[in-house]
Symmetry: C3
Subunit: 443 residues, 3 copies
């Protein structure tokens, strides 16, 4: 049972702001779906959107079934490991099926709704990396693993009062690992899953020539991609604000600062990407700039409530440069074929956002995660990032590799040639438009 004593009921004022911020989150997911679809091929466009809807649905149902039980919420009892005289939470212990939650303005009810939508957003991220070759059934199964296992475990550690959050109270390392809007919990978890999926699936047919040089396969609709960015900004306003209220104790009045920082960070990132691509290729690259915009949003999430606007601009500039460079690194050096740029945008910029909190943030005066320590916040962030690399990446890779063993994730070669729309859905996205079919079929 949920003990009454620790379940705070939010003030009316905070509650109304919070639920409305939360309701904006699906538009962030819609933005990412458009981005992924536009960056993919026209012959798998319906598949990409259909997969977005399906993984959002699977994520919501699985999180309702068991995900929330494992994620828990701060202040609730969870499974605890006693090490060296300290209690460390390692898994939530709520009832399944959202049982026992009270819908009377209590924080846990908002946390459940928020995370149900966030996990749907996280589940869309790998779709960008698996575009044009990931089977629909496998997307769904992989999402079930993400929403039922990977995400809830890490979310419990960070947002559910688990051991990463307790680093401050237990060992005096800053205020523990802080990630207000989910740069790590949502974005890096999704981005590392995208990396695992891209590794497991391998590259698209025709992506790498015999000499290892990657071919450019342009996205089929740049308008969708860039429109997706504007929707994502709107969704991120909600994401960053709701997260700050629920997980960093931010006052809703501070959400003005959060919105300013989110806007400036995305703006600065886009301009930085445009400059870098302009300098390197002679022309700004629209797809990369879109990725830069989202990378700026991703980097802003962790620390948005704690930044001066000038710091947000700086963080955005770095995020934009990181996107412009890392997309190429992954493609050329690591031979990761990631059509949507999901790894660069969500994993790389997410990690930068977490780190930036340790570097640039001015933490609030009151306690956070039960600790008020200053000074070594960067250390807590590094521990969190190390956990993402050392635990979450192996976990999500292992789960997806296991799944791949019993239920092959990649579509048959014939299906890839034909396009996922016809092969898996039996109908194309744009049946009346003429496309350069031959061109692409011959690759």
């Amino acid at each position: 049972m949920i003990p009454q004593a620790v379940v705070p009921v939010l003030p009316d004022f905070t509650f109304v702001a919070c639920i409305l911020f939360i309701l904006l989150v699906p538009l962030a997911a819609a933005g990412i779906a458009l981005l992924n679809t536009g960056l993919g091929r026209s012959r798998s466009a319906a598949h990409s959107m259909m997969a977005s809807l399906a993984v959002f649905a699977i994520a919501a149902v699985v999180f309702f079934f068991c995900g929330f039980a494992f994620a828990g919420f701060a202040g609730a009892p969870g499974h605890i490991l006693r090490i060296a005289g300290k209690d460390w939470g390692w898994l939530g212990a709520q009832p399944f099926f959202l049982h026992g939650i009270r819908y009377d303005g209590s924080a846990p009810s908002l946390v459940a709704l928020f995370q149900m939508l966030c996990v749907g957003l996280a589940a869309m991220i790998p779709l960008g990396a698996g575009a044009d070759r990931w089977r629909l059934g496998a997307c769904c199964a992989s999402t079930a693993l993400l929403a039922g296992i990977t995400y809830p475990i890490f979310a419990h550690w960070v947002w559910g009062g688990g051991w990463l959050a307790q680093l401050g109270a237990n060992y005096g390392i800053g205020r523990g690992f802080v990630d207000a809007g989910g740069s790590g919990t949502i974005q890096v978890v999704g981005g590392l899953t995208a990396l695992a999926v891209a590794w497991i699936l391998g590259s698209r047919r025709g992506k790498y020539a015999a000499d290892g040089m990657p071919a450019a396969i342009p996205g089929h609709n740049a308008v969708l991609v860039l429109f997706g960015c504007l929707l994502a900004l709107f969704g991120w306003f909600g994401l960053n604000s709701a997260g700050a209220i629920l997980f960093a104790g931010a006052d809703p009045r501070r959400c003005v600062l959060i919105a300013i920082n989110t806007t400036l960070c995305a703006a600065a990132a886009t301009l930085a990407t445009a400059l870098v691509t302009r300098l390197r290729f002679g022309k700004p690259d629209a797809s990369l700039c879109a990725n830069g915009w989202v990378g700026g949003l991703v980097a802003s999430s962790a620390a948005a409530p704690f930044l001066a606007p000038a710091a947000a601009v700086l963080i955005g500039v770095v995020a934009g440069i990181l996107v412009a460079l890392s997309v190429e690194w992954f493609e050329l050096r690591f031979r990761v074929d990631d059509p949507g740029g999901a790894v660069s945008v969500h994993a790389v910029c997410g990690i930068w956002g977490l780190l930036a909190l340790g570097i640039c943030a001015r933490m609030p005066d009151g306690p956070l995660n039960g600790a008020s320590g200053n000074g070594s916040q960067w250390l807590a962030q590094v521990v969190g990032i190390a956990t993402l690399f050392g635990f979450v990446l192996p976990l999500t890779y292992g789960l997806n590799a296991l799944l791949n063993r019993f239920f092959p994730q990649r579509v048959a070669a014939e299906g890839e040639r034909q396009g996922l729309d016809l092969h898996e859905l039996g109908a194309g996205a744009y049946p009346e438009f003429l496309t350069h079919t031959d061109d692409f079929l011959n690759r």
Copy 2:
């Protein structure tokens, strides 16, 4: 005049939540517009969007002119019929032109705004059924009848304190007919109008072969369709929450539950449709899954504030199965040519949502519609559904048939061959793209 005594001024907290929920409703309408357009043909895509804008505009203006006067609001005086010693409200009696409404946080002002946007949403539903053959002028005239007569009458009975709402207080049948978010008032009224319009217009050229077998005419843009679903979810958050506050006395704190139920219902419905179409056709059908998603939203509206999340999942599963099967029933057995699936999605799932309230809902403790009775709520719902079939369907059919008499609703055969865009607007939606013109012209 509006008597002051009965016009409650909402608490600040509730007011702010409510107006913001209401403002989300146009995005539900935008989602439905994209869905209808994507499921139609490319040569009538501009016409479909233009008709969406036009009917939204007509609906708002007519509802402002007389619709609100007839719809009224609970607690206000209306036209009353005294039968067997009981007073039954049958029509609102507010002044025209929204005269006399006070914009001081009063519930009626919110009701007027909410319904003005809802009737625009209801008016878009028939566009899905009349796609590719419904004249623009006739859409507008038909909408004027819907927004000025059909919708306000039924809305008065349910939301305006009319006889369906009074069933509980007058005869002890549950709490009277309850429809918190408009499964009946908006969706079934729109869906039955769609059915009437489809009957009156007849099927598209080439839809049915000489032997009566329907041809599949795929929608021209699956990306629009599936993106419309994500927008609709966002709009439905507002629809279900605002309706629950205004018409079911729900506390804004309960809107967390409403959002969870709405999400789960849409998610479960999509997955159910995907499974059923997978089992029947070997592949999941993206268009039907999109319809399943919206069907789940529609079914969630009536009872969202009164459901346990597990019940919402169940209702969604049934809605998804109903969509998958009923689209075929209507097409094959009843020979209703409904390109957008409007009848299945809005009428069938709406009725299921109303019924589901009678079956699965745990009604609140306090009185609703002036009654606190439990137990026979299903009976009130059945009476409401019977009224929709026995009164609203004949009324909307009669009005549209009458209109058809004096102002033919179907476009000339020549216009259908040419495409509605060129014929009625003088320009195509996509003038620069090459389409399979010949193919379709020869049908």
Copy 3:
């Protein structure tokens, strides 16, 4: 430093409503971006969206850097000119970089966020006029001038307690120039900049024949255009409401009226445009109707909180007629080639909105801009409009002409033939779709 005494902290209730209204504004910008892109050619579609993102980013960064410092806010100290014994504010004097703003629910923090998003919206307006021939770099430079100089100066005069706002308190002319939602500050400033840009750029290749007759160059995607309208409505709800709260002291409860008026004004305008184009050309013109819709939104902004709904309908009808006629005037008589109709929609309808406030508005009882005078409100509006023509238009023309001198704004002839996408971004928006390339290349 910002003196504490004059910085009001908004009540919680008002604050939450206000921030959420503000967050809707980017969707107005997204709607305008889609409108501009859909009304342009397919071969510059990616460029149009990319420019939208870029100018939004530039506007945010420049406004953060110096724009807000110059715009200031009412009650704060500014640069003052003493003429004839009266103090007239002519420029804000806040610190740069949003320094000194307190994020504790203070009105200035909301003003900073709101205007940062508004200036992004204003910066997108000229993109419609410069479509298919405006260089990306020049768009960005021009936006920096708009966001750093033109917009802040006029915004200070109107919203920052400058001399136009002081007309009432100083000379008893109504309540001073009133523009609650930015018909002038955002729309006319943007629209006049669009006019200046269209003049400086000249017309597109092939737009005018040797005999001076303009050719119709249809937009490439009517679905985007009309969908943009529905998004814009949603964004305008936020724009008009937040502006009314922050700059006209409106009570949030009045926002119900604002939303009703906004909806009715857009609806009436669309219907009026449809009727006029139907009467003139035999068929309603979908692109012009979309422009009519936005023109209605633009006209509603100035006076939305002060109008009876019937007046909003009237204002909308006039706006719709103005759009239908003025697009042709500009094209035929003044030979302004404005593919997106930006001048008609934003400048003409914006001026009508400002004027309509003087004619139809019922001003609130309390003081506004420190004055309570009635009667000569129209005079204050005329002074404001004269300032727009006499000062803002020359200023923005001069700045853009100067820019053009050192940094040519128009793309090279070769680039226009090729399409801006390929020329400036190196990739088309729709690489897989077949388009009527030859047709258009030969113009």
